[in-house]
Amino acid sequence: MISKTVAHLEEAVAGIEDGATVLVGGFGLAGHPIALIDALLQQGASDLTIVSNNAGNGDTGLAALLKAGRVRKVICSFPRQVDSWVFDGLYRAGEIELEIVPQGNLAERIRAAGSGIGAFYTPTGVGTLIAEGKETRTIQGRDYILEYPLGADYALVSAWKADRWGNLVYRKTGRNFGPIMAAAARTTIVQVDEVVDLGTLDPETVVTPGIFVDRVVAIGERAWLQDGAFVGSESAS
């Protein structure tokens, strides 16, 4: 019997090595795998390269990992936010490396890694600082730059529900980078509210097929839901 379910967060993040590259899902805190990152913080891996849209919000999740000094480099589109004080401090102190990738190129590079594309020509960033040092080409009268896949050793993804084959569904804009990151890592680790019985997820509506998922851990229902129904929250985080 296939079962990708693991019982504890500790087991979910076991084996992540010092120096690993880790894709971290989420756009802001929506879809951000906070429980997995907390577990990674406990686990102790350091010298990490993190690929994520942002570089941490507030003091939780990725921000906490950065604060603990575990991250050597961040590859992201948008580190500077109203609540990115942890990253800002490290960056200004010269204690962390930063590679900025426009958000669409970031998403497409991750998709390319998951789908075996060797490189692709994108119009995004042409004529900007982002294009410096990159190969450019004019195709059918339009200018493009060449971008390469961005895969990783691990992906940490937050979804809504899973089954034991690792099929996943997400919730609203929490989907964001989850599906493409799940496909782009050697080992994909997913936190979900609940692992449901095989056959519960409608095959037509599975967003991430289990082929892309290695480990699933259930962490209990998110605070703004009750038995799967939305009950609301007072704040966004």
Partner: protein, 211 residues
Amino acid sequence: MTGALDRRALAARIAHDITEGSIVNLGIGAPTLIADQLPAGLEIILHTENGMLGMGPAPEPGRIDPDLINAGKQPVTELVGASYFHHADSFGMMRGGHLDICVLGAFQVSEHGDLANWHTGAPDAIPAVGGAMDLAIGAKNVWVMTDLLTRDGQSKLVAECTYPLTGTRCVSRVYTDRAVFDIVPGGFAVTEMFGSTTLDELRSLTGLELA
């Protein structure tokens, strides 16, 4: 600044130019004000690049859904007819030219339609581009919403951008507090002036030949 539009009035002016059925991305910051000014009763579909079409207004108090945010990471709602998709698909929509309009803020816009809105170029600034470069090259119509002048009186409309670019030859129209400018082969063309603004005044403020 006699007759200059305030931000809400400018947002309403832009909203007036968005026709029914348009698919529109309102970026982050000031352009998001446009959402509340869209004509009631017209169906205009808002795209947010973090994976949604059919975005609705901010939720009622206590009804915030942390899984449902816009590109500015503010809580939003879902309209009837909405759909969700992942980031590669969302940016494919932009890059593939499927959005009708996006409205962005700007540090500078050149008379060729070059846009600078992501980086001041200051050595201690932390760069952060987000989806701006993708929006700039992606939408069928890229409009800018901005004050004509910076806080210290410099024109944001320029012959050539001095800040790092977001995209080249991508802006087609600039809505400012003083006037609306179309970008045409010769440079900026004034299509509308607000309040007592005159063309001479705009030429003086921008230092540009304006048609």
